[in-house]
Amino acid sequence: MRRFRIWRRRHAHDPLVCRAFVELVTDYLEGALPQEERVRFEAHLAECDGCTGYLEDMRRLIGSLQEAPEPPPDPATREALLRAFRELRDA
């Protein structure tokens, strides 16, 4: 662990490569990257078309999940729930 921390400190200013970039995408979108890493992330983004496209795809994917329609419950379940709803309402 200590060795890793030293390694990390020594490499903190190295430019990010694409393989590392893709693993930081969620932390970036969640606003969870420390300032220094966010700067490296955005610097890489500015110079890499592949990663720009990857990030754009992930944003579209997340937006599409939010819009994804759920399959409706089966009719028997729906009817049973509506019956319960009516019974409580009219009780």
Binding site: T26, G50, L61, S64, L65, A84
Partner: protein
């Protein structure tokens, strides 16, 4: 979607169509999250059914201190935990994500860690700014093939739209672990869509 307080008013006044819409909106997501806690689809069906009855019974007393959807999912998790304990078949939410595969296949990168060729792009729908209709049709299939833990997190975060702190509380996971699960889940869904992408020369 309509304003939540308006929806709540309609539900409380006994508007059936409002309740039907609420069920249609969340039933699928409730099932996926229930399956994280219990082992069979039948048990998950029971848990979801009981959750909806709890919602109906609790509507009048619901104070709106959390959002309606958060409240519904809290009822679900409590119901599912009780059921899992009773069956002595609880599926512990893994303390650590066991899926350690990278977000992108290692073969996509050269020895220098850069893309060896431009990464495949997911087809987009220019009008909505979302993925193409065809890809969107396969999204839920891809979600359903994830591990239960990944499914629960991506369902609550991206499909239901709950904020991260509420998901951590519901599933009893740390902030960091929640993010790892979300990251793996989204990456796995992207990978599942890649074979459907049109190859353009």
């Amino acid at each position: 979607m309509e304003d939540e307080s308006a929806l709540l008013e309609r539900l409380r006044s006994g508007d059936e169509s409002a309740f039907e819409a609420l069920v249609a909106l969340h039933d699928g997501a409730l099932h996926r999250v229930a399956r994280t806690f219990v082992r069979t689809d039948a048990a998950a069906d029971d848990v979801v059914q009981e959750t909806w009855l709890g919602v109906v019974r609790g509507l009048q007393a619901f104070e709106g201190r959390s959002s309606l959807r958060t409240w519904i999912f809290k009822i679900l998790v409590n119901t599912a935990r009780t059921r899992a304990t009773r069956d002595a078949r609880s599926l512990p939410f893994s303390a650590l994500e066991s899926d350690t595969r990278p977000a992108v296949e290692p073969a996509a990168f050269g020895v220098d860690g850069r893309w060896s060729s431009a990464p495949a792009r997911l087809d987009a729908d220019p009008e909505s700014g979302l993925l193409s209709r065809e890809l969107r049709e396969h999204l839920l299939d891809a979600v359903e093939r994830l591990s239960p833990d990944q499914q629960a997190v991506i369902t609550l975060r991206d499909l239901v739209g709950l904020p991260a702190p509420e998901v951590c509380e519901l599933l009893d996971v740390s902030d960091a672990n929640q993010r790892v699960l979300l990251h793996r889940a989204r990456a796995r869904v992207r990978i599942a869509l890649l074979p459907l992408v049109e190859v353009t020369e």
